[in-house]
């Protein structure tokens, strides 16, 4: 007897796929991705728990909305820039207690802190034609001692054969910076002046303007590449209100301690290239390089390499290496010399020092419950040329779950 099942399946599939008109119903396809990230530094320094959730929805044929929310809790101790000190002079706290920073007495080189951050990014992308698309973005991030607002517009134009995409983007940001007590210290102000009541001003503001030009293209059936040039100017209060710098004698013993001071403008530029290629054995590599330079004299090289190998049943493993090197900012000093006049700008922030860092890790992905589950474990090692704390080691773990809905 012959099978009619296929014909019947087609007939039922046809009738059931017909929508009966419903008020307000639009065709939408959702993608959601939720992720937990742990970042933990060795020696009880910074610990971060981060939850990220993203949702992306197609509205009709030409629009996509995306929403990304991130919630962080950060606790631990971070280097202030001051040298390790053996005198037990009571230390003025850069914050007024409670939340935010607290210096443990006798160890001004590290401060305890805790903070939470909530950030939201919203995006809207609209196809104006088959080959022209604009993405609009807005972001807000709020912490106890920092607020950031930003907006961006990115234009994407494809060539008619869709081999090349030209991208131009502009963005602006407005950040407000303050200590958790509400103010910012006087740059290069002595921490202990006025009997431990250094001068404080109101919140600092930072404005950023950014432009980007990029081109991405299909190289061949298995390769795509992208090159970007970005330029960003920042102006306003660019100093870190919690960072300190010590003035030491010839023996390296701390004599005085100052709040750091950075220039009130910064021009950052970068060239970024990425290549994605499928090898003959179907492994996929992501290789990217960035050259960055700014007018604080920091320039850096970053190489990032991921190698994805597909395993059975939709699982994959992806080792990852990232190498980074930067030069120091021209006003970076380990400490200042006692007896010499104070410079206008000085910072002992380890992030402005000459540094090399390496990240090694791997990601494992598998299908689960109709979506994809990914686990990632990485080790970050940073080494600094002069900073008081000359290394930083951290473990990164991330678990993410992504699912798509019709």
């Amino acid at each position: 007897m012959k099978s009619i099942r296929n014909k019947l399946a087609i007939a039922t599939c046809t009738i059931l796929s017909q929508g009966v008109q419903q008020a307000g119903a639009t065709e939408s396809a959702w993608t959601t991705d939720t992720s937990y990230l742990y970042y933990g530094e060795a020696n009880d320094r910074v610990t971060v728990h981060k939850i990220i959730t993203r949702a992306d929805v197609a509205l009709g044929d030409y629009d996509r909305l995306s929403l990304e929310a991130v919630y962080d809790t950060v606790t631990g101790a971070t280097p202030t820039g001051a040298v390790k000190s053996f005198n037990t002079v009571s230390v003025t706290t850069p914050s007024s207690g409670g939340n935010g920073f607290k210096t443990a007495s006798g160890s001004p080189d590290l401060v305890q802190f805790d903070d939470t951050r909530l950030g939201v990014n919203a995006g809207w992308s609209h196809d104006y034609s088959r080959t022209f698309n604009i993405q609009y973005g807005a972001s807000v991030s709020v912490e106890r001692d920092y607020e950031a607002y930003g907006g961006s517009v990115t234009f994407n134009k494809e060539t008619d054969d869709r081999m090349l995409t030209f991208t131009a983007g502009i963005a602006g940001s407005y950040d407000t910076i303050f200590q958790s007590s509400g103010g910012t210290p006087k740059p290069m102000g002595n921490v202990e002046e006025n009997n431990g009541n250094p001068e404080f001003f109101g919140a600092g503001n930072k404005r950023g303007y950014e432009g980007m030009l990029g081109v991405s293209g299909i190289i061949n059936r298995r390769t795509v590449a992208r090159i970007n040039y970005s330029i960003k100017t920042l102006e306003g209060y660019l100093t870190d209100p919690y960072k300190l710098i010590s003035v030491t004698d010839a023996n390296g013993i701390e004599m005085e301690r100052y709040f750091e001071s950075r220039p009130d403008s910064r021009l950052r530029q970068s060239l970024y290239g990425i290549l994605v290629h499928q090898l003959d054995n179907k492994d996929v590599i992501h290789l990217s390089y960035r050259y960055y330079w700014d007018d604080w004299d920091i320039n850096s090289h970053t190489i990032d390499y991921r190698h994805r190998r597909n395993l059975m049943n939709g699982r994959f493993i992806e080792p990852h290496v990232r190498l980074y090197h930067q030069t120091a900012a021209d006003f970076f000093h380990h400490s200042l010399k006692y007896g010499e006049p104070l410079p206008q700008y000085a910072s002992a922030d380890y992030r402005l020092d000459e540094m090399s860092s390496i990240t090694l890790g791997a990601k494992y992905g598998l299908p689960a419950w109709g979506g994809t589950l990914r686990f990632r474990l990485e080790y970050l090692y940073q080494s600094f040329a002069e900073a008081e704390y000359d290394t930083n080691k951290a473990l990164i773990f991330q678990a993410s779950y992504k699912k798509e809905f019709d």
Binding site: K7, A11, S17, G60
Partner: protein, 164 residues
């Protein structure tokens, strides 16, 4: 069904393509082709006298998934009136196409153009692209991409051609 499709695809190497000029433009004659299909050779010339919706698709093309139930509906709705859907798979690996067809069954004619020769001749720019061909074998419309506005537009165009 799968085995047959694979056999047919292998035999396809032996079949010649009858292609004439370069790009298919509305108003011009639809380029003739002969391709292996799921149930035997698909020869566009044999559809002369019918209104044909010629669709180029691939298993990895996401909008194509949405188009299949709709094309099944078109076929069911207008077949009696002298209408046919021909869906040409451009998958390089026909196994991908047959796996797709198991998930999204097709009630219409399916052909395989694994080397993309016909797509090339039709000058495809977008996946999916479809052509509406009238009873005399003339291309009357070309649709790029697949979306909801496309559905209405196409259906009224088909009805118009069938009424002629």
């Amino acid at each position: 069904m799968l085995k047959r499709a694979l056999c047919v695809v292998i035999v396809s190497a032996l079949l010649g393509l009858l292609l004439c000029s370069s790009t298919a433009v509305a108003g011009e004659k639809a380029l003739r082709f002969r391709l292996p299909g799921i149930s035997g050779v698909v020869d566009l010339a044999k559809f002369r006298g019918k209104v044909v919706y010629l669709d180029f698709w691939a298993s990895w093309c996401i909008p194509c998934r949405k188009s299949f139930p709709w094309m099944n509906m078109l076929q069911a709705r207008y077949k009696e009136k002298g209408f046919e859907v021909i869906a040409v798979s451009l998958d390089e690996n026909p196994g991908d196409a047959t796996a797709f067809l198991r998930r999204y069954p097709a009630a219409f004619t399916v052909a395989f153009d694994r080397r993309g020769k016909v797509a090339e001749a039709y000058g495809l720019k977008v996946m999916p692209t479809s052509y509406l061909i009238d009873k005399n074998g003339l291309v009357t419309a070309r649709f790029e991409g697949f979306n909801s506005s496309h559905k209405k537009e196409t259906e009224s165009a088909i009805e118009e051609l069938l009424a002629k």
